[in-house]
């Protein structure tokens, strides 16, 4: 596909861009034309013949049981085909109240009449039209036995969770906290609160399910295609290979589409029960219940500092909300593990059970909430010590990972600080707040925060097939949530095969392909990319073997390590005049294709030896009306070091998205519960605010060069989530610097600032 816009982007001469390589090039999205012309099919665009529409009836109470449903009224409505309630719901092979696997969540699929949160599915109405199903669901007119809703941090039972996030320990200690605190010249004892937030992907959760005997086809946006295929298969007791999950495009996922939820299961059940294809699309308000969210947190930090502002102790406690029936604990306190050097670090998590849907991973889970509090606390510490906030961070710079004592695989954070500060113009920032005003009389403030995100890898597989015509087919069941996997993974695959990207046919987003792993944890490019690259080099190695053993080839006798693949030809490494095209090698061998296979995953020895993170620094400028408290972020500059950048255009786009998310966290997002009913009263995009274009300032995301030889062979980390971290704190700290008001609850609102 032509790169229409590349001439508008200055070519980056960073050393990781290799001449002739697709990686490093700011190629535009390969799926861009499909998307802007409406030709990209999202799940809900599928309309198999004979399809019915399902609508979920959801509870309006947060706790209790359904006493009655007027099934007769719903069934009598013209067009309604079936009403599914706990009374007639066909059995599932697995119990949705039992957790299955590490990523399994308990969910509601009409297993009984209990209500555990508002917007919980309590029935499914299937009809000829969406309108009939919708009205049928309303006609069910449920009555309830209501129990009081437990909402808010003081609403429910507090407990010590056995683990936080997915499988992480809840508590951590290193060094002598008490000694560190008692030795401190300055003690910061502070607290921050973050609200429940909802993913609100632009594309709602949707599924079209069609059975053919015991074979199931599902179109549904999914971030972990092959893994979830297996999970769906287990619930319906069919072999995994009988399930075909198609997810070519996702309109955003942010973690919420990595998890099995009740509505999907109910749609598949309805399709099997009625022997017809069934479509279910959640209306926006139903995305505020059964499909996860970011749990609210209360965080308490104590920072001990010596007279020069060096940490002597760092304590971070978090209380997080979870549901009454499952645990996902926002691991906020873990944000303090790996960023700042402190001889003593202690973190704790507690949790509180409330009557809401179970939280789940949401873009930068734990890191976003924890970074918000930690970066504000650091800012408070800087103010207490009379030190510039950037200098504060430099004095507490960690040269080895404070949590493990391991060296970092690579850490270009100093360069992020320096280049970000330079670009922003940080020098000369007055220490005290309320020192800067613009001509119009608005207060100006500058704040900053450090950004940190782990650089994990999962497991993925890929296949690369070289064809005699000089093109190649590369395949992995990757997930493009809008982040650019269709483009970036193809770039990596092209390099693995020594082909121009135009020669690459990339198949992805379907469960009949090799397992592409999960698009999550900012690890998809590294993991699936490594698999694709390895598949390509595997194919090339086989090709080289053929050529090296073929007396008719100019490469005869080279051995497969003695050749280099470039631009569709194999070259002799030390004699460039000896080369042959892939097509010629295959033709002479009588082969139509040659196939390579590859896996992506972390080298366990490297994982043991090194701490692996992406880093960054974010600088924010805000203006605040001194009388009216209205805030406007006027500038955001982020500088990020995340290993090798495959596509600077799309990486910047990811970082912008993260930074905008951070702005949204700082100033806009909050799900507001009515504490009496437990219902969220702003469960739509008019009431649940995310920023509009006019809220977004001048933004810059600097890509700081970083060569990381340990994370993986390609040197790739991730950029999907790190932009949120650092940004929330930077904006909150800028608001303090503008106003002198330290707001300890997010989002920061006008009424917090009018004093």
């Amino acid at each position: 596909m032509p790169d229409h816009m590349s001439d508008t982007i200055p070519f980056s001469a960073a050393p990781h861009v290799r001449l002739g390589s697709s990686s490093g090039q700011p190629i535009t999205r390969r799926d861009g034309v499909l998307k802007v012309t409406g030709a990209a099919t999202y799940a809900a665009d599928n309309h198999p013949a004979g399809m019915l529409h399902a609508v979920i009836a959801v509870s309006t109470i947060a706790r209790g049981r359904v006493a009655s449903l007027d099934v007769a009224a719903a069934k009598a409505h013209p067009g309604v085909v079936e009403v599914i309630t706990p009374a007639n719901r066909p059995p599932l092979a697995l119990d949705p109240d039992v957790k299955h696997g590490m990523f399994g969540f308990r969910f509601d699929a009409l297993q009984n009449d209990r209500v555990r949160y508002a917007k919980q599915p309590i029935a499914v109405v299937v009809a000829q039209t969406l309108e009939a199903a919708t009205e049928g669901a309303r006609l069910l007119s449920p009555t309830y036995e209501i129990e009081p809703a437990r909402i808010g941090f003081d609403g429910g039972e507090h407990f010590d969770p056995p683990m936080v996030s997915i499988g992480a320990p809840p508590n951590f200690d290193r060094g002598d906290l008490a000694a560190g605190l008692s030795a401190a010249a300055h003690l910061i004892d502070t607290h921050y609160e973050t609200p429940a937030q909802y993913h609100n992907a632009m594309e709602p959760h949707a599924i079209v399910a069609e059975w053919d005997s015991d074979r199931l086809t599902i179109d549904t946006p999914n971030q972990a295609i092959v893994m979830m295929r297996g999970a769906f298969a287990e619930f319906f007791d069919v072999p995994a290979e009988n399930v075909h999950l198609r997810s070519p495009f996702l309109g955003g996922g942010f973690g919420s589409k990595a998890i099995m939820a009740g509505p999907h299961i109910l749609c598949i059940l309805a399709a099997r029960m009625l022997r017809r294809p069934v479509k279910l699309v959640l209306p926006r308000d139903q995305m505020y219940g059964p499909v996860g969210h970011r749990g609210a947190t209360q965080q308490h930090l104590r920072l001990g500092l010596d007279a020069e502002g060096r940490l002597t102790a760092l304590e971070h406690h978090a209380l997080a909300t979870t549901s009454s029936f499952d645990d996902f604990i926002e691991a906020a306190a873990n944000a303090s593990h790996n960023l700042y050097a402190s001889p003593a670090i202690s973190t704790r998590h507690r949790a509180v059970r409330v009557d809401i849907g179970t939280p789940g991973p949401m873009r930068a889970p734990g890191e976003a909430s924890g970074s918000a509090a930690l970066e504000c606390a650091l800012d408070e510490a800087a103010a207490a010590c009379g030190i510039d906030p950037l200098e504060m961070r430099l004095r507490n710079y960690a040269d080895i990972d404070p949590a493990t004592g391991r060296p970092y695989s690579a850490k270009a954070l100093r360069a992020c600080y320096a280049q970000g500060a330079e670009r922003f113009g940080w020098a000369g920032r007055p220490l005290a707040p309320r020192q800067m005003r613009c001509d119009a009389g608005h207060l100006i403030g500058w704040g900053m925060g450090s950004a940190l995100f782990p650089a994990p890898m999962f497991q993925a597989e890929a296949r690369a097939t070289l064809r005699a015509d000089g093109t190649a087919l590369v395949e992995t069941a990757g997930a493009d949530m809008g982040q650019g996997a269709w483009t970036v993974l193809a770039q990596i695959a092209a390099d693995g095969l020594g082909l121009d990207i135009e020669k690459i046919e990339f198949r992805s987003g379907s469960s009949d392909l090799p397992d592409g792993g999960v698009a999550g944890g900012s690890g998809h490019t590294a993991t699936a990319g490594s698999a694709l690259h390895n598949a390509g080099t595997d194919a090339i190695a086989k090709l080289a073997e053929i050529a090296a053993n073929d007396p008719a080839s100019p490469l005869f006798g080279t051995g497969n390590a003695g050749v280099e693949a470039r631009n569709g030809r194999l070259y002799h490494r030390s004699d460039r005049s000896r080369s042959e095209s892939y097509g010629d090698i295959l033709a002479r061998a009588g082969l139509a294709t040659i196939e390579g296979n590859g896996k992506g995953g972390r080298d366990p020895a490297a994982a043991e030896a090194r701490a692996m993170f992406s880093h960054g620094a974010v600088f924010a400028e805000v203006k605040v009306d001194p009388d009216l408290g209205q805030v406007r972020v006027t500038r955001l500059v982020g500088a990020f070091a995340a290993g090798r950048i495959i596509n600077p255009r799309l990486a910047r786009s990811q970082l912008y998205g993260g930074m905008i998310w951070g702005l949204s966290f700082a100033l806009h997002e909050e799900a507001i519960h009515d504490r009496r009913s437990g219902r969220i009263i702003n469960a739509d995009l008019a009431g649940y605010h995310i920023p509009v274009h006019a809220d977004i300032p001048e933004m810059e995301a600097l890509l700081i060069d970083e060569d990381d030889p340990y994370v993986n062979g390609l040197g790739i980390k991730g950029v999907g989530e790190i932009g949120i971290t650092g940004t929330v704190g930077a904006i909150a700290n800028a608001i303090w610097h503008a106003t002198g008001v330290r707001v300890r609850r997010f989002p920061i609102r006008i009424e917090d600032l009018i004093g």
């Binding site: 309006t60 013209p78 309108e131 919708t134 009205e135 309303r138 308000d285 613009c438 001509d439 119009a440 608005h442 203006k623 009306d625 009388d627 009216l628 408290g629 209205q630 406007r632 100033l667 806009h668 507001i672 519960h673 009515d674 009496r676 009913s677 219902r679 009263i681 702003n682 008019a686 009431g687 605010h689 920023p691 509009v692 274009h693 006019a694 809220d695 609102r749 006008i750 009424e751 009018i754």
Partner: protein, 352 residues
């Protein structure tokens, strides 16, 4: 959504006949009504589509110097009408600060007047709401009410009217032209929306079957064009309703205020005209002190209806700030961020 009849009358008379049937509702752009129907808060049995009625989409300058705007004129068209925007710049600014470009392209003048409160409890069919269901109670009392009314509310209802457009209009003595089963009548916009009292379900003075056909601005309304501003505080820069807004329009001669027009939005179940404050300004100098005094006077009757005492102080400050901006003079061109306090940037991005 319930099953309903849809009718598309060919004339105003046909529309009124259809709209007079029990359970009927007029449908214009539907930017509010259809949302409420989808959420189950409103369930009309018949929609009478008035968007194609002839003659309701005109913007006319009247012989007396006033203007008449048809009820089906779209918000975006009105805000960009050169004659209208020049004569009533604060109204144009208010229009452009409302909703989003997409909504403004669809929403109509008549529909703007008829929009319902954005009180979450009104929209949530499972909540008790006297406005939606008389006698049911008010879940906003004691609920999440930080943006609810601080003026004119009652025990039965603490909702606010969400319109930006209506705020400067009410200050300019706009008149609503109405056709009904009993013929035509005019109602001052200030009398059009009702405070809740014990009957919050009666949101306007419209009688069954009555249809807004036009809005009229009297000749004096054009006299404030050189000192007219609308200022809106909100939680994001577009597609957000006002926490508090203010329209301030002044006639200043020889350093003295000859006449003032003031109204507040987001504070009551109707656009809130501040006549007592206007009168305080007549003969005063356009100074911070006199504006502060006027702003204080505008809120003397304000009372928190819940967790919203901050809105009273904020409303005073917004009104004072709007007066200061109006005294500075109407901007030569529409600011890039209409009605925002942040419209001082220079350069090509500073104008809409």
């Amino acid at each position: 959504m319930n099953l309903f009849d849809y009718v598309r009358p060919a004339s105003v008379a046909e529309a009124v006949a259809a709209g007079s049937q029990p359970g009927a509702a007029y449908l214009a752009a539907g930017t509010n009504l259809l949302d409420l129907m989808k959420g189950g808060a409103l369930r009309p049995g018949r929609l009478v589509d008035v968007t194609r009625l002839p003659g309701l989409d005109r913007i006319e300058t009247l012989a007396d110097g006033g203007m008449r705007i048809g009820a089906m004129v779209r918000n975006a068209d009105l805000a960009r009408d050169p004659a209208f925007a020049a004569a009533y710049p604060a109204v144009a600014e208010a229009l452009l600060s409302g909703a989003s470009p997409q909504l403004r392209n669809a929403a109509t003048v008549g529909g703007n007047l008829m929009q319902h409160t954005r009180c979450a409890y009104f929209h949530d069919a499972a909540s008790a709401c006297n406005r939606r269901d008389p006698g049911a109670g008010c879940d906003a009392r004691g609920g999440e009410n930080r943006n609810h009314a601080v003026l004119g509310w009652s025990d039965a209802c603490i909702a606010t009217h969400p319109s930006d457009f209506c705020v400067p209009l009410v200050a300019l003595d706009a008149v609503v032209e109405i056709e009904g089963p009993d013929g035509r009548r005019d109602v001052a916009l200030e009398d059009f929306h009702r405070l809740p009292g014990t009957t919050p379900e009666r949101e306007t003075v419209l009688r069954a079957g009555e249809l807004i056909t036009a809005l009229r601005l009297p000749p004096e309304a054009g006299g404030f064009r050189t000192h007219a501003r609308y200022l809106k505080l909100r939680e994001r820069t577009s597609f957000a309703f006002a926490i508090v807004s203010a329209a301030a329009m002044l006639r200043i001669e020889g350093g003295t205020i000859q006449s003032a027009r003031l109204a507040l939005g987001g504070v009551a179940a109707k656009p809130w005209r501040a006549k007592a404050a206007e009168e305080l300004l007549i003969g005063a100098a356009p100074t911070v002190e006199s504006f502060a005094t006027a702003a204080e006077a505008a809120l003397t009757e304000a009372m928190p209806s819940g967790d919203n005492a901050y809105k009273i102080e904020l409303a005073k400050r917004v009104l004072k700030c709007a007066l200061l901006l109006a005294a500075d003079g109407t901007p030569r061109r529409m600011p890039a961020l209409p009605a925002s306090v942040f419209n001082f940037d220079t350069g090509c991005h500073s104008h809409a």
